[in-house]
């Protein structure tokens, strides 16, 4: 599963998440979603720290962010 998940068809393509992700994890699609917008997506998942900033700045609460549990982290 992606650690940053989008409700794709609710994205309005404002690009705020993309702009605020300091690590450049996010990008915009070329296609339009169901409501006619290019949508945001995770393009560099490996860089993601799970900081939540993208989700916080999303006006449409499109994004959910997960982090590996400590257990998993230590295990990795």
């Amino acid at each position: 599963m992606d650690l940053v998940q989008f409700q794709k068809d609710r994205c309005k393509g404002c690009e705020l998440c993309v702009g605020f992700c300091a690590r450049g994890c996010l990008g915009m699609s070329d296609e339009l979603n169901a409501i006619g917008y290019r949508y945001a997506k995770l393009v560099n998942p490996e860089k993601c720290t799970g900081c939540g900033v993208c989700a916080d700045m999303c006006p449409d609460t499109v994004i959910r962010v997960f982090r590996k549990t400590k257990k998993v982290k230590s295990h990795v």
């Binding site: 309005k12 409501i35 006619g36 917008y37």
Partner: protein, 182 residues
């Protein structure tokens, strides 16, 4: 004679302007004309359409929910307004974006790849003008030359490049339906 037209698509496709071109040209051609816009509750995005009526007589209601002609720019509009064309009426669809799955047998369907033609003419944004050009050619309500005049006036301040682009789009639309009989 009265021709009741809906021009429908989503915000940003130049729907209102496209309908305005027709109304303006109709006026220039000595007809009565009305134009009425309608949008969804969204400020941006969402559906958008306008109703245009042209007539050789004083026009009653500028609002109608059955159409002689529907100029359809996107799929939701086809679904919503396609069924509301009068039997025997004209349905023109933007085949760049829409594939008509189950064409109605009782209306005249004309498919025009307006986005493709617009891009060819110089800009995606002139798709509305392509549609108007096609409409003029299929239904002789307003003369394409009058529409061209209107375009020249409207974009006079924007310079010859913009005018040319639009005239080209108009022409591409007209040509796309050459030979299509009304």
């Amino acid at each position: 004679m009265i021709e009741e037209i809906i021009f429908a698509g989503f915000g940003g496709q130049g729907i209102l302007l496209g309908g305005g071109l027709i109304a303006q040209a109709a006026m220039k051609d000595g007809l009565w004309a009305t134009w009425f816009p309608s949008y969804g509750p969204e400020m941006r995005g969402g559906t958008c359409n306008c109703l245009v009526a042209c007539s050789d007589d004083e026009i009653g209601s500028p609002i109608f929910n059955v159409y002689d002609t529907a100029l359809i720019m996107n799929l939701p509009s086809l679904e919503k307004f396609g069924p509301m064309v009068h039997p025997g009426g004209l349905l023109m669809v933007n085949s760049s974006l829409i594939r008509v799955e189950k064409p109605r047998s009782d209306v005249r369907l004309v498919e025009v790849p307006v986005n493709d033609l617009a891009r060819e003419a110089g800009s995606d944004r002139a798709a509305n003008v392509v549609m108007v050009g096609a409409f003029c050619a299929v239904r002789s309500i307003v003369r394409p030359e009058t529409v061209a005049d209107v375009l020249r006036e409207k974009f006079a301040s924007k310079g010859p490049k913009v005018i040319d682009l639009n005239l080209r789009a108009l022409e591409f639309g007209r040509r796309a339906v050459e030979g299509v009989t009304v």
